[in-house]
Amino acid sequence: MMVLIGSLVLLIAAPLAWAGFVASGSSSEAVASVGERPTSPTMNGSGAPSADPAQMDSGPDVAGPEVSRIGTPVEPRVAIEPVPPTRVAIDKLGINAPVDAVGVYEDGSVEIPDDVARVGWYRFGSDPAQGKGSTVIVGHRDGFDQGRGAFYSISALDVGDQVSIELSDGGLRNYEVVAREVIAKEILPTSDLFAEDGAERLTLISCIGYFDRGGDGYRENVVVTAVPVSEEVRS
């Protein structure tokens, strides 16, 4: 009888264990959102900042009566060469993952490294050298046949936790978590999360919540927002 029960338990428990692994008790109820993410101003699309009116020419170089001027010259914006992140480290969670530069898939969603041990920096967005906007790093929560991904546990981050990234130029940037949110994928505010304007910040995104086998996998994203820590605070 014991063997029968044990076998039946195994028969039922194996698929449940897998289901538990993919859901892993981290539904939206288990992980609440904390903190407040800085928002971005609407992009103006003008493509260039307004020039200082004081720098306008004083007037034409023609002789005779003074000619009035109209218009403010717009100087072309000088692009700052990106400095891509190469590693992300979160000591609290034992995370130290290599970062690849990624773009988008054909469906317009962010490309994520196939290897779940690696994470991706969105190369069409901001980076720490720009001094503004959101540097976005995305990572798989887990892989079908690879187990836990690098960002498996980022839902455990709290306000005040430290995150650091290494850059391709050898630099190191330190950030402090200001918000952790769990957001349904359908309403993910991508315009804010991927904004190249606004406060300088680091945005980590992974998946969480109910795993919909027949659908698109996890139904929610976990979003962790961190802001730069000044050197004075760190020393």
Binding site: V3, L4, S7, V9, L10, L11, A13, P15, A17, W18, T42, M43, N44, G45, S46, G47, A48, A51, D57, P60, V62, V67, R69, I70, G71, T72, V74, P76, A79, V104, G108, S109, V110, I112, D114, V116, F124, V138, H140, R141, D142, G143, F144, D145, Q146, G149, K185, L188, S191, F194, E196, I205, S206, C207, I208, F211, R213, D216, G217, N221
Partner: protein, 291 residues
Amino acid sequence: MNDSRTTQGRSAVRRGAVAAAALVLPLGVAGLAAAPAMADGHGGDMDATVSVLHAIPEGSGADVVDVYAGDAMLIDNFTPGSLETLTVPEGTYDLAVFADGETPDGGTAVLEAAGVEVPGGANATVTANLDADGSPALNVYVNDISEVAAGESRLTVRHIAAAPAVDVRADGAVIIENLVNPDEAIVSVPAGTYSADVVLAGTDTVALGPADLALDEGSNTIVYAWGSAEAGNLALATQVIDGLDGAPTGVAAGGGSTAATDQLPVWTAGLMALGALGAVGAMTRLSRNRA
């Protein structure tokens, strides 16, 4: 390149040196996108962005010019091949090009366009160029500053040269066909660097290029083909409007690298099989015990 979208047509409005009729920016053009600028909260006193391109080749009587909007000077000492971008208050402008030193007060304009309507938030480019027959002309184009899809780049090509119809090729593939002066064509392509050239329409006869064309993500790169085929001075001028980035559509960061996320992994099947075997074996033993 296969999924590139093309719009092409006579959105440019052209007027010659003796133009008197009103020249109005086509407000209905989707690319006008005045809305984003409204977020600045300037109310009714909004600025517009206007670029001016001097695309009349040297030796055509416009080597050094001044550009005026009404009585006020817009650009001083403007030379062929130059592009200037300014912000101006919204309004209706009488644009005129004068030889350097001449003024609206008594001077005779080389080119003029009266009643150009510039709404707040608009982004437009005015070109002083040659028409297909080689006569000076002023064109007004509305620049498409609508959002560009994530990963994509917008390419606008404007034919403002005294030259016949052309095709534009990128990496050898025709992406714009049969473009004539003063038309423009707009395509959306994956961001990247392409080897671009301009050929006589329907032929492999290269008129311009090839040149490396870096099309950055989230920007509108506007390429002007200008000059005169007859005079042998065809050239390209480029204007880039950036900051049009669209955000990605989402982040699908679970389920890993395989598409078969709706199936149980192999190890669960193995354990289930083991369990099933054990259950059968136990039942067999139970029935034997009863027997």
